[in-house]
Amino acid sequence: MRITQGTFSFLPDLTDAQIRAQVDYALRQGWAPSVEFTDDPHPRNTYWEMWGLPMFEVQDAAAVLYEINACRKAYPDRYIRVNAFDATRGFESVRLSFLVNRPPREPRFELIRTEGPGRSVRYSLRTVRENEGAPE
């Protein structure tokens, strides 16, 4: 299943040149790019692993691509995303976030329903990876 998180997930996967252009944009805005990776793309999994600290000192997108490639080499089978942080007052948050790597086989999500009185239902999602069946 192709998950569609991130700013550009409905476009064909970005090429390195396209990634570089987006990072350049972030740097022009004065945002600090960072690289994160995970094997669990559950929508509530906010804290992906950080591949180093946000790059506050970097002036050129090549430096970010350098880290992206190092991360891809270390974790070719994980999701990797680039975030750009804006420290401006009133934002102080992520301003751009997009995927730069997907595992060769993406997991899917199982929808678990817990039924309650009055037809009400509580929903939860469970990440299901390759070679893993549904729970009993």
Partner: protein, 495 residues
């Protein structure tokens, strides 16, 4: 009647408080030398006086009627610090392009300052009861419009403000760097809960972030509210599982009583919805109650501005929508419909820019070209996400983003559900168009001019987008706006 003409301050108290009727300007409501204090609430009215009524007298009358005055002198004023409580009209300017030689009768901008102690803390109901309470029906005026207000920081800080705000909404949804996408379920009325949920599922799975109840979907014979909530939340969660994204549906909890609204909101929460919706017609107090409920329950609060055009659209009478926007930011909603510029509903580009700034900026400087008369400091109050909806489609994506920026929800109702290949394809077309334009903009492409090529290029690999562009290519709503700004920046003519 007194014949005194001197300024209030110099007048003998005895003459001022003699029984009888005085002109408002003589009762102290016209003070051209008054310098507003930082803590004053300031209102700017557009006034059209009756024949023979001086503009200063009309302004003083508005000041009087919206604060302490009544039609006659009352001795009980003297039991109070009435000089402080009186609103002060301190400036009157003729409105450009009105009066003799124009097609519009003479209008004036009246600036009126109100002492902060006139208002109860954190109450839009109290603020509006004064500012728009009696005065709009006042006979010496032909028409009256509240154009803008300056809310002092001291008063801003007594309001909760948006329950969630733009930044936290994005963090909860995990969606950054692009406008959010929505659609209103169509047809507005008549679908059963089961059919309704189908529309929601298709649109969310196709790529929208939100689907929305329309303003008049409450609990009707064809679909009672619990049914709607249950089917919709099944659709929302299925779509989330199918995409790995957080999805939402604005469940309209508008109802006859507060008790009903709380009951519906609680049920939405129980089902795991991230957002609920209310209509402007429920009233300011109900809106503030729901904002507090939303803050307590980690819920995004969407406001549909149902009914506003009855008083915001005409330029000479009513309330400008920028004022409603200010009130709603104070009242604490997270989303508000605020115009599209390019769609089917009223929206002059300069007016809309002023409204969007009012909702989204930490500080809005005065900008007459955008209809903003005052600097407005929001003192860290959270930001409201404007919602653009009504007659917009994927082919306008570059214009929408150029006008509205990226902190906005773009709602394509017909533009999703009316897609020739179905709802999912319609949603996909919108999402691809959106991402392609944002990508191009970030890469430095001039999207205002080259947007159509960017969309055409994306349409080469995205069939649904191609179909959308072909279907709606020539659809525009090109009518003159009625609510426009009065100050148009003009280029200095070269000599």
């Amino acid at each position: 009647m007194s014949t005194a003409t001197a300024e209030t301050g110099k007048r003998q108290a005895r003459g001022r408080y003699d029984a009888g009727v005085l002109k408002y300007r003589e009762m102290g409501y016209w003070q051209p030398d008054y310098v507003p204090r930082d803590t004053d609430v300031i209102a700017l009215f557009r006034i059209t006086p009756q024949e023979g009524v001086e503009p200063e007298e009309a302004a003083a009358a508005v000041a009087g009627e919206s604060s302490t005055a009544t039609w006659t002198v009352v001795w009980t004023d003297r039991l109070t610090a009435c000089d402080a409580y009186r609103a002060k009209a301190y400036r009157v300017d003729p409105v450009p392009n009105t009066g003799p030689g124009t097609r519009t009768e003479q209008q004036y901008f009246a600036y009126i300052a109100y002492e902060l102690d006139l208002f109860e803390e954190g109450s839009i109901a109290n603020l509006t009861a004064s500012i728009i309470g009696n005065v709009f029906g006042f006979k010496p005026l032909k028409a009256l419009r509240l154009e803008d207000m300056r809310i002092p920081v001291a008063y801003v800080k007594t309001f909760q403000g948006p329950a969630t705000g733009i930044v936290v909404e994005r963090e909860r949804l995990d969606k950054f760097g692009r406008p959010l996408l929505g659609a209103t379920t169509k047809p507005k009325l008549g679908l059963s809960g089961r059919n309704y949920g189908r529309v929601v599922y298709e649109a969310l799975k196709g790529g929208l972030d939100f689907v929305k109840d329309d303003e008049n979907i409450n609990s009707q014979p064809f679909m009672h509210w619990r049914d709607r909530f249950l089917f919709v939340m099944e659709a929302v969660n299925r779509a989330s599982a199918a995409t790995g994204e957080v999805k939402g549906h604005y469940l309209n909890v508008t109802a006859a009583t507060m008790e009903d609204m709380y009951e519906r909101a609680e049920f939405a929460k129980e089902l795991g919805s991230v957002i609920v919706m209310i209509d402007l017609v429920i009233g300011y107090t109900a809106i503030q109650s729901m904002a507090k409920w939303a803050r307590r329950n980690d819920m995004i609060l969407h406001l549909h501005r149902a009914g506003h055009s009855t008083y915001t659209r005409q330029k000479n009478h009513g309330i400008a929508f920028r004022v409603i926007s200010k009130w709603m930011r104070l009242a604490g909603v997270d989303h508000i419909h605020a115009g599209t510029v390019v769609g089917k509903l009223e929206g002059d580009p300069a007016v809309i820019a002023g409204i969007y700034d009012t909702l989204r900026e930490p500080f809005t400087p005065a900008n007459l070209g955008h209809g903003l008369f005052f600097d407005q400091d929001w003192a860290g109050m959270r930001k409201v996400m404007p919602v653009a909806s009504g007659g917009i489609h994927a082919g306008q994506m570059h214009q929408l983003i150029s006008y509205l920026g990226e902190d906005v929800v773009l709602q394509f109702g017909g533009g999703t559900i009316g897609h020739p290949h179905g709802i999912e394809a319609g949603a996909q077309a919108n999402r691809v168009a959106l991402e392609a334009i944002i990508q191009a903009r970030n890469e430095g492409v001039d999207i205002w001019n080259e947007g159509p090529e960017v969309l055409e290029k994306a349409a080469r690999w995205c069939t649904p987008l191609r179909a959308a562009l072909e279907t709606w290519r020539d659809v525009t709503f090109d009518y003159t706006s009625t609510d426009t700004v009065d100050f148009v920046p003009t280029a200095t003519p070269a000599s």
